[in-house]
Symmetry: C2
Subunit: 302 residues, 2 copies
């Protein structure tokens, strides 16, 4: 799937010899000459300087080589990813996911996965991070995707994707005219927070604590049990709320909600795969690779 003329060019550029390249490619030397000549005609620039016995790259040649390498790199990735799709898999994968992941990150990935691997049966478990970890330990699931950063000895963690908790407000909110506020303005803003015990709240409080902001000093309007509830409430009030970037993607795109940055303050977090220690089963590994590849697709469109 990679243009053969470029393959020829690349070989000549590395060996700096038409004859050697011909050998390596199992074609004859005149064929190599013709391919290179074709490229030179196309670009209207010489790619090699031929001085009798020696061949060197011209500047144009080096430029082309640089890009050829990128092109080859992409082609290799493509071949690899296609090869994953071609393997046909069967069986059942029991999968657990914590709230944000389950609601906002997994759905498109699951849909694609099912489309590609119709014979794989998925059993989903939806609970909070703590419970997912326990389900894994009790062998009720083979794979979990969680948003916490607890680290247990008897569980194997694999980073999956980055997330960030952002401060969000209704786009109409007069308090949110600025795109960025200072951290010391935060106490004056009425806030919605997730319920105590949720992973999201914990991460936020930790980050605030590190920045010497006391929770008691915050103007907390309400604690709400789900991201969806918070988003609805935001639309009808002048509150702001800390939510996962993933939970407000659509609303920010459509313009009804707005992310308000805070100077010198951010709340990054990671999503993780959790698995049993030791080698993974085929389906588990397949799903993990698939999710990693297909998560990037989305993040590119962000």
């Amino acid at each position: 799937m990679f243009d053969f003329r470029l393959k020829v060019f690349d070989t000549v550029a590395r060996r700096l010899s038409f004859t050697k390249a011909a050998d390596e490619l199992f074609i004859t030397q005149p064929a190599v000459t013709k391919h290179i000549k074709q490229l030179e005609n196309y670009f209207k620039l010489p790619l090699f300087e031929r001085k009798g016995n020696t061949v060197t790259l011209t500047n144009a040649g080096e430029l082309l080589l640089k890009h050829t390498e990128s092109l080859q790199e992409i082609s290799r990735r493509l071949e690899f990813e296609i090869s994953l799709l071609k393997e046909s898999h069967k069986g059942c994968l029991r999968l657990g996911a914590s709230t944000t992941v389950f609601q906002y990150v997994l759905p498109p990935i699951l849909a694609r996965f099912k489309k590609s691997y119709k014979d794989v049966q998925l059993q989903m478990l939806h609970a909070n991070t703590e419970h997912i970890e326990q389900a894994l330990l009790r062998k009720e699931i083979e794979l979990g995707v969680i948003e916490g950063d607890s680290k247990r000895r008897d569980i194997h963690y694999t980073p999956f994707a980055r997330d960030e908790i952002v401060l969000v407000s209704s786009a109409k909110n007069p308090l949110a005219k600025k795109d960025e506020i200072r951290l010391d303005e935060l106490p004056s803003i009425p806030l919605l927070l997730r319920e105590p015990g949720s992973g999201t709240l914990e991460v936020v409080l930790n980050a605030l604590q590190k920045a010497d902001i006391k929770v008691s000093g915050l103007n907390v309007e309400m604690y709400l049990g789900s991201s969806e509830a918070i988003k609805s409430y935001l639309l009808h009030s002048t509150c702001m709320a800390f939510i996962s970037r993933h939970a407000v993607l659509k609303e920010v795109d459509s313009g009804c909600l707005k992310i308000v940055a805070i100077k010198r303050f951010s709340v990054p977090r990671q999503f993780f795969f959790i698995t049993h220690p030791g080698p993974e089963g085929g389906l588990t590994a397949l799903f993990m690779r698939f999710a990693l590849l297909n998560y990037n697709v989305q993040s590119l469109t962000l």
Copy 2:
């Protein structure tokens, strides 16, 4: 230079119709069918689902589309950069550069530039940032490349490349066994610094000041007038020094010098092109584009 079959695939994928794609590409519908079939044979996977009147991408198709877009992007860049090489230019360009840039960044770029544009005469001026700016104002040069971050009204600044001042030590230095130190360990380390008045020193002192480190508290072994002098001295002592990453590239690669990171502390800086305000001359613009493109080449190999 971009594989035509992929071009056909891309068109079909965007229009979701073989016939429309054929129109757009000025070929016939059966030709399109054959190209797509060829791709499907190659990958051994269907790329489209044909249901009589409608065509949709399969998962494999979407995967291919994603990569096809990357490939097209690279091809476009390639064409553009080649087109720059094809323009033939003549004339004289007077160019000024400050110390680090002149010694470590420009040489490979200048060599390449001369190779591509034999009929352009280059006149180099080597001085410190301040002097280069003045030479520009006195119209003694058309273009400058500097490392300072002063901003004058009567000069036009264009970011060129990022640089970073790093803490460097001999690889044999027992003080440098760790790859990373804390900032509060710095005062105990014997330091070499560039001479007062140099841009490098100024940037370092500013950064330290921001981090609440007083210069008087540092253990300064010596002030030295050039990066080369500092590097030689480092090899025969247990001192460390703040130098531009560019100045120690080779030595770090060959393993005789070592970069020691400092936790939560970095000294980034920018290189800038400086030009007269208003539209640039052809040669000036040419050199700037050329330098930008050919600087990336190097940074990729870092």
